[in-house]
Amino acid sequence: MAETTLHRELGLNDSEYARIQSIMGREPTLTELGMFSVMWSEHCGYKYSRPILSLFRRYREAQEKGALENAGITPLDNQFGIVMKMESHNHPSAVEPYQGAATGVGGILRDIFTMGARPIANLNSLRFGPLDDAHNRYLFERVVAGIGDYGNCVGVPTVAGEIYFHRCYSGNPLVNAMAVGLVPLSHIASAKAEGIGNLVLYVGSSTGKDGIQGASFASVEIGPDSESKRPNVQMGDPFMEKLLIEATLEALATGAITGIQDMGAAGLTCSTCETAAKACTGMVIDIQKVPRREANMTPFEVMLSESQERMLCIVQKGEEDKVSRVFTKWGLQAAIIGKVTGDGFIRVMDGDQEAACIPARALTDQCPTYHLDAAQPAYLSELTSLDPLNYSEPDSYEDVLLRLLNQPSIADKSWVTQQYDSMVQTQSAYLPGADAAVLRIHGTKRGIALKVDGNARYCFLDPYVGAQVAVAEAARNVVCVGARPAAVTDCLNFANPEKTETFWQFQRAVEGIAAACDVLETPVISGNVSFYNETQEFGPIYPTPTIGMLGILDDIHNRCDARFCQEGNPILLLRSDSDPTGGLGGSEYLAVVHEIEAGRPPAIDLAAEKRLHQLLLTLIQQKLLVSAHDCSDGGLAVCLAEKAMLGRIGASILLRSIDFDNLPPSAIFFGETQSRIVVSVRSESYIKMLEQIADQYQVKAQWIGTVGGGRLRLSLDGKEIVNLPLETMERRWRTAIPNWMDGAETQSVLKAV
């Protein structure tokens, strides 16, 4: 029987414990209490976030219908669907970066092939503290290695991502892994334990004592004792995962599997109760039959282990040999551990002894829901009242541009992306470094574009606007390669939601995402929430919602590159922008040059943004553009520099301040005003045409210069303020990260516990 304080040690509060006693009508056993503690953690039960997430229409509808699946699906055509999801592995990566990141990739891949989809792409969104700190470099290096080693071995290309560095992530890095899969619409698998008498088949790795209660660990802040949680971090085996992918897809093809769920957070507990609850059935399993890595494991440990690379299949009775044979062929163990029952209970037997007997729905649907209080943070009014135009202009704009290109958050990420196999499966038409990855879908002429995006500084200053910008920018990125934005998955990283200010940030960000997704017609089809991202030393992280965007190209041949290509090509700025402060609020410029993170983030008009997207897609479909790249971090100047460096050809830009509300040069060149895309066209004769078409979309197409030469030259009102050789820019841009990582001592600097 449970001790009176034991539930608190397991992360349950007194009223939750009372609720459990009332559901059970008795004292829960230790195993039962453990099962409740993980299922009722925020990580599995979404007890704090659920009311807010209902703002996402698809989520609300799925929840009402009891149809929440492991990942969301968007149709590609009438034959195939794209499955995608993003998930955080922040806490494990903070204490064991290599395994934490690797198992993040493994876990999200299982969510994809559990749906019957073949995983075709990995993406990730990463945040670390500044690289001048050795511990941050250690975390960065090992997270990248963990993602690479896992993805490379399973043979799923890592095609795109984003990486930011900021002191708020010191000690609490963010590791958000996203996976994408392709499924025939007629073969979508479901996580339902249907059919009384059907068998419960355990597949994959043995169960060990690793990762016990990982879900609960992810639901508290990182503290000085977090290092002692290293045993809570799971160990990944990508080879096993590769076998599991092939065997699972082959086994599903037999038609004998009626339901399937991976064992991720909360392991056997979660996969048994969720599949049973969804089908309104029950399940009895015998943990003696569970393949184990070590002797003397208690029922508590078996039920709560988060050992990786395991799946739970519900197999039609009588067909078990057919299914087992497939797994055996791939060298995997498959053990029948129980059967589906009709009584609605999850019964866990330890041989003859009953270790737990809980109504399945008590663990899932009856998880308490909290409506937390939200209050606008005190810091906001002061920070946002600051006028970013009140600061002095820099002495040298060239120096500013070079400093921005040298910021690790803006700099070239090849040091990272070259460690990932981005080409396996031979579908990658655009590799990392493009505005968005473009993958062809084998056997069709269609393609998909994928991108992850987020700007935490904007969200810190205004989570509603910041979240909208994240959606808009991710959509703009897929539009720039020629894809129609189709769906969103998100990963919502926040600090402790039990603090009113954090919860306000969370609520406003979700409202922002929901509003933007409504206007841009990109439903949120899946996602994940990660709370408690804060440390005693560095405090709470900035609110960091990250957006994974799927775009669809009906014909992959109509796609567009970011780089300048040809001498003499005219350059145009397409803009449907409106920002009186020139987008300097919360900009990288303000942070780097004036060391200030304040002001209002760039304004965004979603309807205007949408018109810009429609215009760009029209232009690309009509093959009128040579290149397209959006303005984001670092503003117009960085956008132009990137286009020049990628194409290894310069450009001369001539601007008039009158076209930019007479803003100062800093705002014109480095302001992060939204809804802007720089394009190049083949010749002068296209300019007029572009202007006319843009006019139909109420977008301004403004000629700003010409491609050519070996330098980037920026002039304002006839005065040249930047004239830099490409090599000079490129050196700063390409060496920023390698200089920190290869030049510095990056070996383990684990702090003493």
């Binding site: 071995c153 080409m423 031979t426």
Partner: protein, 236 residues
Amino acid sequence: MKVGVIVFPGSNCDQDAYHAFRDNLKQPVELIWHQETDLKGVDLVVLPGGFSYGDYLRTGAIARFAPIMRSVEKFARSGKLVLGICNGFQVLCEAGLLPGALVRNAGLKFVCRYVNLRVENAETALTAHCRVGQVLRIPIAHGDGCYVCDEESYEQLSRNRQVLFRYGEADGRITLDSNPNGSMDNIAGIANERFNVFGMMPHPERATEKLLGSADGRLLLSSLIESVINGARTGA
């Protein structure tokens, strides 16, 4: 003419090789499971890239004991054509069908990117469609691609012109900087003494269509196909 692609547990470029031969080079191709012993009458065996058996002991070290490998060895000894790509190259070295070994990249990190390969010998079944000195743009993706061998083998490789490709600059110059993994003398691919067994770290199957960035790999795969068709199995 039929191509056989061997599938080990952990192979992950088997489908890519299959796709390249079937859809881009329009050749009959078959996947062959590692536990089989019959090569099903194929004329060309491809050992694909990936992480056979997780590469847990040493790259390629376990795969060489797979049942199908005995048949592959026999096939090679009879003078028929075998191409090992990336992990397949590692397996061929472990199996003793090619000299030398592939060890951890000098930079200790996995590297995935396009490289420039200079063709060193164009009189082989793999390179017949190329010119000596021609530069091919083909991607690499490996953590253990640093080719090494003992002095005697190196001497023999050089003397017999068994080195087929070296990493170089876009203009064909062989430089230290252009070597992505620290391999001996920038070696990227070799042949055995009889010129019927080939191993290379770069992935020609990933470079068989413009859509993906390069079609230079077609030159190599089409050379092999033509060699089979012409029955010309030795070069040099």
